[in-house]
Symmetry: C2
Subunit: 265 residues, 2 copies
Amino acid sequence: MSPATHDNSAPSNPAPPIIGIVGGVGPFAGLDLQRKVLEETMAARDQDHLPVITISWPRAIPDRTEYLLGQITENPADAIVAQLRLLAGMGAAVAGIPCNTAHAPAIFNVIRARVAAFQRPLRLLHMIDETVAHLADHHPTRRTIGILSTTGAWQVRLYPAALEPLGYHTVAPDETMQVATIHRAIYDPGYGIKAAGGVTARARAGLEQGAAYVCQRGAEAIILGCTEMPLAFTEPEFDGRPLIDPTRVLARALIRAVAPHQLKA
Amino acid sequence: MSPATHDNSAPSNPAPPIIGIVGGVGPFAGLDLQRKVLEETMAARDQDHLPVITISWPRAIPDRTEYLLGQITENPADAIVAQLRLLAGMGAAVAGIPCNTAHAPAIFNVIRARVAAFQRPLRLLHMIDETVAHLADHHPTRRTIGILSTTGAWQVRLYPAALEPLGYHTVAPDETMQVATIHRAIYDPGYGIKAAGGVTARARAGLEQGAAYVCQRGAEAIILGCTEMPLAFTEPEFDGRPLIDPTRVLARALIRAVAPHQLKA
């Protein structure tokens, strides 16, 4: 029971290594990532599932979009780093952050630099890089990519900046649709997914409007670039175009990192 | 970044206190408890949700029923205590274990005694006691209670032993239905909820047979006494009898313990 024996207790000697998840960004997105890790793992009984530690501490993490838009000055990176440090301290070997917007360079570069200085090494996956790699691997012929995201990610061109140097053409909502329709589907205090704690009909309708908008402009695949969006789109396609779910891509990357033999085909 | 500063990082000074969850028993039941904590919390944005740390480490925890039936000798209490110690070390003030069977005295009494000796105090809730209290508070006129559970909980009469001293009459499946139908709906390697990682039609049918069985024998309410069962019964009633969901009861008890003002009515 003493602190001295603490590190000898079962959880400290894992096989395979522990997956760490920074939940709470948002809370339901954190659940969605955990569920997809379970769904993508080959398992025949409880004991076959991989060790996962999730910290869901939304209060500690300022809104990523508010920071990117200059509405608040506190960088969410600080709280995310603190939670990653706690996960590393608990023995996590690899970690993921189920929030696309938190991967904007102004936030993620700070996180990455500070995680690199941890005493306990932690491999931090990059959700956007994993999604770009997934697109090339699984949809090599799709070169015009529609992108739906928060206004924070939209403003810093998070996905376009990752895709265009690779020769992709990207299409996103114009500012009016982004601000009035897409962003509110996530953030509206009345019907937004974050406030409602679930997908309301109006939120779904707004996101479908956005999907239709990028399809009309030539999108051959659509990235659901905010982790609340896959909660609204449960089908693999929209209007015949594949929907790319970065949460599922991240879930698979986390499994691949610790137990590739248990990753479902 | 040093260990010295570790405990000063954001997560170590919570308001409200942190909820700890021993996930992985089973993994989908752990997700279900996390979801119900979110659903039962009054929140208008990500940041309003409560801090929750979940350790899902199923591999470390031997099957509770196999232990109670004498099929294995390692008490799951040891691994559960190790995970509770880790949660306490991360700052959890209250914790819950979303597995009814783990509350059998042969397991839970060991856990409770060792948790009481932790250097960092941790309030461990008792899912069965909370469920019995919920029954009295919300269904005071229902005195004959149907109970569905794993064969481990069935054999040690987990819920009957808690209810009968209070004057309740309990009805449960006979041994044939328990072993051939109810238990397999949870554990069958082919169609059981644990193996399938979801509720198969055959698992649901088996559990509905059990619910019908206890209703025919006078059950006025039915306790879904295994945390995989609420995954199969999504309606609040079965054949006009209220279905008591210990996972939701535990979720509400965890919220009440740390932030009663945020508990939904």
